[in-house]
Every structure is written in structure tokens, then in C-alpha cells.
Symmetry: C2
Subunit: 529 residues, 2 copies
Amino acid sequence: MERIYITTILIGFWIQSSLLVSAVADTKQLKLWPMPKSVSYGHERRYIGKEFELKTEGSKYNDGSSILKNAIVRLLDVIPAGHVIEANFSSFNPSHILKGINVVIRSSNDELQYGVDESYKLLISAQGDLVNLEAETIYGALHGLQTFSQLCRFISKTRAIEVHQVPWIIVDEPRFSYRGLLIDTSRHYLPLPVMKKVINSMTYAKLNVLHWHIVDSQSFPLEIPSLPKMWNGAYSREEQYTMADAAEIVSYAQQRGINVLAEIDIPGHARSWGVGYPSLWSSTECKEPLDVSNDYTFKVIDSILSDFSEVFKFKFVHLGGDEVDTSCWTSTPHINKWLQKNRLNASEAYQFFVLRAQKIALAHGYEIINWEETFNNFGDKLSRKTVVHNWLGGGVAERVVASGLRCIVSNQDKWYLDHLDATWQGFYSNEPLTNITDTKQQALVLGGEVCMWGEHIDGSDIEQTIWPRAAAAAERLWTPYDKLAKDPREVVGRLAHFRCLLNQRGVAAAPLLGQGRVVPSEPASCYNQ
Amino acid sequence: MERIYITTILIGFWIQSSLLVSAVADTKQLKLWPMPKSVSYGHERRYIGKEFELKTEGSKYNDGSSILKNAIVRLLDVIPAGHVIEANFSSFNPSHILKGINVVIRSSNDELQYGVDESYKLLISAQGDLVNLEAETIYGALHGLQTFSQLCRFISKTRAIEVHQVPWIIVDEPRFSYRGLLIDTSRHYLPLPVMKKVINSMTYAKLNVLHWHIVDSQSFPLEIPSLPKMWNGAYSREEQYTMADAAEIVSYAQQRGINVLAEIDIPGHARSWGVGYPSLWSSTECKEPLDVSNDYTFKVIDSILSDFSEVFKFKFVHLGGDEVDTSCWTSTPHINKWLQKNRLNASEAYQFFVLRAQKIALAHGYEIINWEETFNNFGDKLSRKTVVHNWLGGGVAERVVASGLRCIVSNQDKWYLDHLDATWQGFYSNEPLTNITDTKQQALVLGGEVCMWGEHIDGSDIEQTIWPRAAAAAERLWTPYDKLAKDPREVVGRLAHFRCLLNQRGVAAAPLLGQGRVVPSEPASCYNQ
């Protein structure tokens, strides 16, 4: 009898272990994106009830800005609970109906900043009728709601919104705190509804920084209240943003846990600045870079950053500094004279410009992000508060952090979305910590960013160029390194599923198979394209 | 004295006439799309007030379904009144502030049907503080609100929403009552948010029929309650529409003055029908067309149309009938035997099928639309209640109406949106009444439709393939013939402006210049692309 008893226990243990092992192995196929840090699940089924409601028992968070309330509305919309449901609830086991979600947030503070705690714990128990979500901050809770939304599926057979594989225990937090998307409103104006749609879509992949490349050579669309003629550089009166528009974007993004990084790219990429204030040009024949010899140039930068500080509350501001062709300085007499007077060659004048602009930004309380060339040319002179934005290629982040500076990774061979031949596999595989093994140096890599440059991008094609490739990078930036697939082919099913989820939510994500922004090759299911 | 008096009067009259003449000539450049039937305007400016409200003094319409109320909400959203306005109202002449719009609708009936009165009169007087809109029905009023929305412009200088060129007198009604867009949810499933966005965008160009090509060879995504296995032919469980979904689409469209024309394309284009009910196939090796010899086939059609009649309330149903390859009938023994027994050749069996299906539809209270081949092959046998849907090419409408039948024009050389090389100029110039001079026959042309076939179209690229070319056709179908431009080059400025308006409203309309669905060629203003 004892032998049978022991054998039964051993068999039971073996079965349970097998189940656990299979559960762990099977997480690789879970239809979640990005993959959470830690997931376990079961085999039961639950149904979302008709009056699925928000509870906040035990929560310290005071939802003064309605961030949580609005997020619940959005959740119910995408599940879609607002879908006309004809589910026959009397046919379900009453104890299998989920009546609501209890969201417990430990911090009452809703300030959104770089490095805010974005962790959460999502529990869907086999007992009780509530989903449980815990987080340190509201922003962690937003991510938890996103994950929960991906567990909900409308099942046409029962006409119910079902949650399969209950119980769920998901404990999650991002690997990197900076997970960005750049948009460019200078090469093409992007109307507010377009920008908002992009911001909203970012939340589905848990991206959390919108890098707004606001102005450039071609146009200056943003109002600068202290310099009313700056936005004369816009393409047209219809293609402008008031500062109130900018504030609306910042607010819309904050409601979704997304920071807005404002960029003024200087001294190059700035031809449009002189449309309203021609003295900013080196000369009327030579319009880029901005005139380094003119004190007024720096007064203008100061004014702009002063106005920015009223609206853009992210701790960083981006001052550009890339692709500076100094010919206009050396070839323009008054500037050439100034160079000689100050004993600067053109390259040193570039350094002078960048460092002086940095000081202005620091005086306004910002920390600075600059494009990579500033580091490549005079990295040791940069403010120690500089974050270097790598874009030219791989192998840069390691040098930046070795020098003690922080880094954001956007190497163009892999993470430029306007490069249509950059594949989703390449986006997935681009590892920010390549060749960085020292943990202190690893901590200096803030994260990374995919870049949607606007030369060929306007409201008609932005979404399909961003998605789904940005999602591939989003998992690289969120999911722990050891849970990422070594071979992207392992994730094609999950990413195809995520792409179809985006489409179901009205996001124009392009087919997965092929280059960026391909169109469907033939009639087919979404899941096969 | 008398001579001076008379001269003064004559000069005054001449000046007034000149102004009128210039006003008339300048309507060709007005930023309205489609161009209204009759427009006059002035030189004054008005401002939309902070609490712009709806009034209905003198109106007979009872807004039980909230059609008007919801339309006002949408109006305020696109103007955009919800835009954070910092206008300094104290700087405007108080008598120039428009406090609201008075909408007078003469009919209390909100039934939407083919041929409903869509006329309206829009008056923005130089006196008073209200906009005045009059219409016979709510649906005319919706068009009037659209036109009004195009007169409103956010002016960055004053930060106000302004109406220029007041007073306006616009008296308008469509040339054709059937102004359609076809979408195809069989080649690719289109999620509900995508369909809704398309429907909403149709209202901007005053299109009024959504032709829903629901099923075809590749997939059968729609639930048929009386035949629960029909939608097994969907690509996947995630790519299905419940009947409640369909009802939601019909309701969403009706709120916007748009009828939904449901199509089941039979007997060809129907391979997906047999996934749930294999006996509908000629054989398991030969799956199209549907088995003409099987009574069950017609029971199925009857069931489907019975279920349709609960949801699709448009007076027409589309029964397809195009591209029928009868080889499966002659090569399948039991069908071949049936043909012989009934003394029908394959072509006569095609006719038999179409006519029998027509009778079923008529019994359900529908009038029928059939694709052109039915007319080409046995036009004199078709029910006199048939509307022939021309698609193969030009020169067909004239033959259809000469035979006494009604016609809808969609000739593929000009009005197929999936033909990317079909230019907006071609869309604009395609005249439905070509070679039809007899007024009784002209009345038999109900209108026309642009077709967005789905072989390469899903949620990722549908909007930019539809717009802006569908807008060019929309003017051809709305504006009186004598007000249309003889040379499309005359309207490029107006159409570019409309394309940018679509973008501003979040509709992904492609650049105008080039083929269908081009991407922006370079950094530029929207208005130059």
C-alpha cells in the first residue's frame, strides 16, 4: 500500500511538473506583445461580465486627472465590451463571470518622468470574480491594463468576451526605461488627429517616449510665443501648431503614460528658422547652419527653450547637432571674421555652438540629448549631463558608455523606419547592449528609439510605415534579454497576431511579410500576411 | 442733373453687375467639395462663438434617434471647435460672432431610403448671429452641415474659427441619388473600426451608398443566423461579423445618411459558401459556381435573404451574377444530367439561376441589382425591377436604359479604385450620362459607384487607396453637369484643398499628384502634393 501511495504521489508530482514545464515552454507561443517578464497561466476559462467595472479597493491613488478612468473607457472600447454582445450569460457558470477589475496603485503621485516605475502585477485567479491589478504607479497600471486587454478575446461562438488559460499570474516591468518613437513634423506637417492616433497606437506596444522632431530645414510649424514670426517658416497657415496644440499633445500623451521629447535640431537642419528672422541665417545665400557669430542666435534659442519649458515637462530636451556642414560659416565674411577673431576653426565653432546651446538648456532645467556626431567630434567636451543619441550605425553605444555618458540607440541600419528595406527581423534583433558587459556601463544605456523620418511620410502613410516593425523593436526594449527569441523566426506567429490586433483596433499596421509598408500580396487571412 | 443721376445709376448698376459676375466666376475657386448647385458669397468675416449651439426653431423634425444631435457633435469636432481656442473674443466686433446654427427640417420622417430628399439651403447672413440651415429631411440637413464645416477655418493669427466671404447663400441638392462606394470584406476581412472610418469619410464627400460586397470565393465572414455553418467559410474566428455587427454598421451608416447595399454574389464568386455546407458545391473538386441543380442552393439563398431582410433595409439587394464560369456544371455528372433533363444548356442554366434568385429576392420585398453580364447575356429576361450594375467598360449604360432598365455606372477603366493607374482626372471626367440624351432614359441612370476591390486591400491601405480619387467621382455624381469642370485641371486646387481637409480630419488620403495611393515624393506642403 505504501509503495502504491508513494508511486501515486510521485506520478502526481511528475504530472504537475510536466504541466509546469509545458506551461513554461508554451509561453513562447502566448499571444502577448511585448512578452512580459514573468508569466504563468492555467487551463480555465472566464467570461467578461456585462457591467465590467473598475474598483480601487486598497488603492492609494487619487485619479484627479482621470487617467485611470479614461484608460478603463479605452480598455472597454478595445476588448471590445462596447461591441453589441448577445452572449447568453445564463449559459455560463456564474462563478466564471468576471465582474470587474480591482486596480491597486501604491503611489498617489501621477507625475510622469523618465524612470518612473512602470511595473505591474496582473492576477486573474481561478477564485473570485475580479481581475486584480497592482502597480507602484498609475503608469504601471496602464501597462497592466494593456496586457489584460490582450488576454480578452471576443469569441463568435459564445458571443462573449472570454479570458482563456486562467489563472494568470503576470509580473512585469520593462527592461529599458526609454522606449521611443520619433516623428518628424517638419518634412511633412502631421495634423493633430494623426499625431494622436500614433500616440495611442504606441500604448499597445508599451512604447513610452514620443520624440517630436518638430522643426528642420523645410518647415518650422510650431508657434513660439516669445518670437511670433518663427512659425512664418511653416509651409502654410493651415500647417501650424499653436503652443496650445503642443500642450494638448503633451497632455494626450501623458494620459497614456507617454513622455514627449521636444527637439530643436541646431545648428544644422535649421534653414526654416530664418523665414521669420533672416538674421539667423549666415546670409541670404547661405541659410544653414544658424549663424554662430550672432549673439541673437543664442537669444532665440534661449527664448524657444523658455517657451518650451512651459509646455514640455520631460526632463530631457533634444538639441540635435547632426549633419552640420560648416561651409556657410567659413564662406560668409562676417562669420569668417568672427572665427578668426575668436581663434576658432569651423570644427571648433561647431563645438562652441553645441556647448553654448547646451548651457542654455541646462539653465532652463533640462538635461540634453544630442545626436551622435557631437560625441564623435568632441565627446569629452560635452556636458556630463548629455545623453548621446546614436544613429549613424552600430558599435557606438559601447564607446559612449565607456566614456561615462548615457546613450540612446537608434542605429539607422536597423531602427530607421523610413528605410523600407529594414526588416522586422532586423528591428527585433537589434540589441542595444551589444558588446557592453560591464553592468555600470549597461545602466548608462537608457534605451532606444525607432525613427519615422518624414521625407516621404505624411498622414496618408505614417501608420503603415511605423507598424508593425516598431513593435518588433518594442519587444527588444521591454522584454528581459533572456526571454527574447534568439532567432526572430520564433516570434513570427506572435508578431503576426499582434499586427492583426492592431488592425482590429483601427491601426493601419502593414502586412508583416515583406519589407516595410508592403501592401497585401493577395486575398488572405490577416494572420497569414 | 438728370444726366448725372442716370449715369450714376448706370455706373452703380454696372459695378454691382461686375461684382456679381466676379462672384459667379470666382465660385470655380471656392474651397468647397463637391461644388454645390448654387452658391453666392460676399466679403465679410464672421467668428464662431465659444458656445456655438444648435437651435431648431420652426423645425418639424423630432430627433428621436439623435441623428441631428450627433451630427452637431461631429461638426464641432471637425471645425475643430474642441480645439483649444485662445481667441480673444473681446477683440472682435460682437455683431460678428455667430452664436449658433438654426436647423429647420420640414419633414418629421427620418426614414432613409433611395431617393430621399437630400436638398438643403444654407444661409449665413450679414445680419443676425445665427447660421440658418433649412432642409426637407434630416439627410439634407446633414449635407448642409458638411458644407458649413468646409466654410469654417481655424485661423492661427486670431486663434478663432472664422467664416470668410459672408453672406453665403447656398442652395444645393445632388444630381444623382445613388452615389456609392464598394468595399470588399471577402478578399480581406475589414475590422469594424476600419469600416466605420470609411463610412465616416464618405460623408465628407457626400457619398450616400456603401455597397458591401460581403462574401466571395475566398471567404464568407458574415454570420447567417438561419444557417449557422455558413460563416465557417471565414478566414478565421477572429475574422467574422455577427449579424449584430452588421446591424451596427447599418445603424452607424444611417446616422450619417448612408444606405448599406448588401451583396451576395451568385452563382459565381461563391466558393466559400461550401465550407460550411459542401452540398452547395458542384462537387468537392469543382467549387464554383453554386450547384444550380440543387434545390437546396435556392433554399440557402432564401434563408440568407430572409436574415438580410431583418438587418439590411435598403430597398435594393445586390445579387452579383458576374464572371460565371459554367464548366463545373457541365463537367459534374449529376448537374449535367439535370441540365439535360431540363433541356438547358450551360448558358441557359446561368440565366435560370439568376432569374430564380431574383424571384426569391423580390419575394422578400427587395428590388435587385445585378452585375452587367446578366444584362449582356439575357437582359430582356431580367425582372423589370432589376438595376443593371455596369462595370466592364463604357457604352453600357446607354444600352441598359434604352431597354427600359435602370443602371448604376462603375466602368472599370475609370472607376475601379484598385486600378492604381486610374487617375483622379479620369475619375472626375467619367460621365454617367455619356450618349444618353433622352430625359426619360437619363432618369433611369440612378447614379454611380467607385469600387474598392479587396485583393490587395486591408485595414492597412484602404483609406489611401480610396481617397482622394473617390472624391473626384463624388463631385461628378453630386454637382450639376453644367457646373462641373470640362477640364479636370481647373479643379486641381480645389481637390488638393479637399485632400488636405481629409488629412486634417485624420483620413489617410494619399497625395493627389500621381497614381492611386502614391506616397509623398518629397518634403512639401500638403497643398502641393
